[in-house]
Symmetry: D2
Subunit: 318 residues, 4 copies
Amino acid sequence: MAAKNNICKGLSKVTQMKLKSGMTVDDLVKEMGRSGVMGAGRISHASDIMEKMFVDKDCTVFLGLAGAMVPGGMKAIIIDLLKSGKVDVLVTTGANLTHDLIESLGYSHFQGTQNIDDKELNKQKVDRIYDSFMPNEVYEGMEDFFEKNFDKLAKTKKNIKEFLWELASLLPKSDSILKTCYEMKIPIFCPGIADSGIGLMIWGHIARGKNIDVNAFDDLKEILQIAWDCKRAGIIYLGGGVPKNYIQQAMQFSPKGADYGIQITMDRPEPGGSSGAELREGISWGKMSKKGYFVDVICDVTIALPIIYASVKDRMKI
Amino acid sequence: MAAKNNICKGLSKVTQMKLKSGMTVDDLVKEMGRSGVMGAGRISHASDIMEKMFVDKDCTVFLGLAGAMVPGGMKAIIIDLLKSGKVDVLVTTGANLTHDLIESLGYSHFQGTQNIDDKELNKQKVDRIYDSFMPNEVYEGMEDFFEKNFDKLAKTKKNIKEFLWELASLLPKSDSILKTCYEMKIPIFCPGIADSGIGLMIWGHIARGKNIDVNAFDDLKEILQIAWDCKRAGIIYLGGGVPKNYIQQAMQFSPKGADYGIQITMDRPEPGGSSGAELREGISWGKMSKKGYFVDVICDVTIALPIIYASVKDRMKI
Amino acid sequence: MAAKNNICKGLSKVTQMKLKSGMTVDDLVKEMGRSGVMGAGRISHASDIMEKMFVDKDCTVFLGLAGAMVPGGMKAIIIDLLKSGKVDVLVTTGANLTHDLIESLGYSHFQGTQNIDDKELNKQKVDRIYDSFMPNEVYEGMEDFFEKNFDKLAKTKKNIKEFLWELASLLPKSDSILKTCYEMKIPIFCPGIADSGIGLMIWGHIARGKNIDVNAFDDLKEILQIAWDCKRAGIIYLGGGVPKNYIQQAMQFSPKGADYGIQITMDRPEPGGSSGAELREGISWGKMSKKGYFVDVICDVTIALPIIYASVKDRMKI
Amino acid sequence: MAAKNNICKGLSKVTQMKLKSGMTVDDLVKEMGRSGVMGAGRISHASDIMEKMFVDKDCTVFLGLAGAMVPGGMKAIIIDLLKSGKVDVLVTTGANLTHDLIESLGYSHFQGTQNIDDKELNKQKVDRIYDSFMPNEVYEGMEDFFEKNFDKLAKTKKNIKEFLWELASLLPKSDSILKTCYEMKIPIFCPGIADSGIGLMIWGHIARGKNIDVNAFDDLKEILQIAWDCKRAGIIYLGGGVPKNYIQQAMQFSPKGADYGIQITMDRPEPGGSSGAELREGISWGKMSKKGYFVDVICDVTIALPIIYASVKDRMKI
């Protein structure tokens, strides 16, 4: 009898979650925390960790953005996170920046469906991103924008971060991830920038004999310096890919690895890729602190992020 | 130019979700609906469909319960759904009923972890259900309960549904799925009942030469009659397995297949099993109405169900 | 320097797999074993464990069959496994038995597609199982068969295992899982039998006032006795669901839990259900031996099973 | 009766797969093709498409390499593919190149386990990649290599492709992906090169005030020119990420989109990211030809690739 208590004695009971009409998101997350297990437990754990890293004045927060956040409806939430002043570094795919730019230029994504004949979409010049549709005409708008601005962008040698800030400076006023980073002086890193609609626009000018001198390695020294200088580090991964991996790599240079960590992903760990890797794997590499607070939320970002952050906004009155 | 408008013209734009400090769960779900795509869009769609099927007085609602809902903290929400009067039929695994019974007998599940040495748990007599722990002593409590009640249960020939209601009638007063169904006269079906701790308890008596005459097929006529008689049918699948498949099978006998459908699952469709099958596949079989409202929510039930139902509770003041 | 050797010193190197024109499946599996990691490593590990459990004369082998094995093209492989004499107990879903019966009656499944309008399929009376099609007319054939045989089946009281053997005895000669089990005297358990096309056929007669007395719990004493009596136990799970869980439950009564274990599944562990649970979780419950050989193969059964078993057939000249 | 034949009449039956002792991998794949459905059907379909694209003399083949192919034991198979002369373009993550380089320098990966305390690994300076281990000392070897070669690499301005070929030219003779591409004059693209151990090595020199001028956008014109010039295009995606997306983007500039396509992935489409997107989605964008042959194999690359390619090697005597 004694034996079995050793393990369970120190543990909280699973409290069955209770719902109420009119409850707030933070009420819900707290109920999830009372149950404490499986997906609900992880959501609640993620809210607690996000709050901890945002409250910690000595924590430098790195946000990694993969996937299709803008056509997935997450743009305003990302901007809210950036404007809160809690995020110090943004690493993203080129796709997110391209869709952000597209909306800045006045275009929209549409609520479509994946149960459709893609040949018909092609005929009608509509590009599909799962169940989100984008009219192909956005490329014309981007071409006009880069036609007007390429020479300014190409004037001086620069690295990718500098290129993105300069690009942002040229954008019209708008609810934009790029613009917000520029205005808030949040460094944006995008190692794979050539792999995006923005890359294609640059190519359009290179192909016609123009030149733009953007260094592929140079801004490494900025992100690694930030990691090196930080007292404590917090990481938030919305999906995996290059953004996650690039921050993970920087964490190897932070004093003791990340102290706080949240990743939201639907990828699995078993195939061995970086995107699906559990955060605890990072401890072996020194990317995560042995004493850190981490959680892997196995969930669609468009479901988990709004819950987690709405709850933190309520707690911290952001 | 005209062409591309044909498709997008009729569609809503993806509106970037906005969060607010203090927002309610229903506010959140409505924001998810404004974005309308990917996981967020499906959560919002599921709330709308649940509301529709609950408001529809002529709709008979079938709830399928797989997985580990009680150790996962979902018991009170299931009971709330049952007590709302909106659920007409419950189909469940034996595991859910066993964990429900265990809590009725005064035991608890604990907030554990999956990152643990299972040999150590075994030594300490703790059973693991992913990150939920259950002290093995619960079996003693179940044995006492069945020791006291077996003869009553075995007195008459019965089918599984009758067996479960009788079992429920013998339970102590408690927050219990079984008891609630019994009190609300909601039929419970559990075709795989032998595959559960309850099955093991019955076996304990059979092994000692006792007899209990529970018919494996007999209650089919009840669930199929309910399906046959219903004017419209609504289905809610929390996970897959036998509960989903058993209701799907009943739907073939409803007048035109289910009119409303929500499934929440993390299983994939590609391996071809029933658990991961998209609801639209049911249209081919006549299990789903060609004109029905359906949504597949690809999410952990312990995350999606609380959001969806909290939002519906708010809208309908349940 | 010394420290780091402690862990890697005892380990095999990852040897990069080499392919050759004309290589056998067993050659391939051995190459996978030389790499030893990720999916390939697990396939190879599974072949080794299957060989071990088949070679071990004192090992009782339990095969659990979920999913859609027959429309997925796995029937002949299952029959081969049964006929090899290496499998002692079969636990299955009703769906597998129903599709097996359908083919016994002369019908076929067809190579279809999931990218199709299910309304059109419904109009043409074709039932879809992911990308496998089944003409709905199979139900007429089943009805005729049960019309002819119901009275024989219903003559005596029986349990589910006895029901299935008797059903098998009435089948025409054919390549059939059911028939093979009957002929080889391999007990078949199917706790959820009411949840299947076979269940529906029985209901068709109950609904017309006929009676059939099949006990839902009675055959528990047979499977648990087999588990109790076995010197060593081996388990093979093709998918999860009731078949896996029912064998897991039986393993609690084997002398020390299963000694050999293979599960092939695409389900994830994080949602907490039995289907996706890692085999090591079973150690806590006493379902798996602390000293057992186990592997979780995260793969579509229709890919992994043929490779694993073809390799074992070669090694053992089955 | 007539109606139902319309759909099934034109279809092949699901033929139950048969296994034989000593069968070759190609025999197995052909059996999978006879069943034609689910995972097995897709493997077989992938072999057929790979054969088609390799036989087609006018087809330019683009290979995308994500994930952890080298620690996962796939290096020699990739090299075999490259040496076959069938692959015209390689796009990869920096991680694959880094692990390839590490083995070129004489280090190994080890067959580890994911069920381990990462803190202990960290103490012993072992880095974990799921169940593959890498001693951290590999970084010393890389530092030595770059110390010796940095100045050569930095001598002239170049783009990433040129950088990688030059890096390859400096490598010791070895079984290496990089070296093979260099020797075969297969262009390698790696837009995210800064996100890798190689990136870190370069940073090590930048941080000490050295300079290396590698252009982030410049090689876009090479891959897009290849896409533009090709008569027909074939794509093979091993995992998703930047390699897949970068090739997809190039396909928009091929005459009519890819004519042949194979992707092997465990990612799901529902979250909306590029990695999990079904190939058919590319038709809407013009990345895939409307008349192309495509297949999505939902499987661990380390399982599916060896089977598919071993079968093609046999058929084509590669």
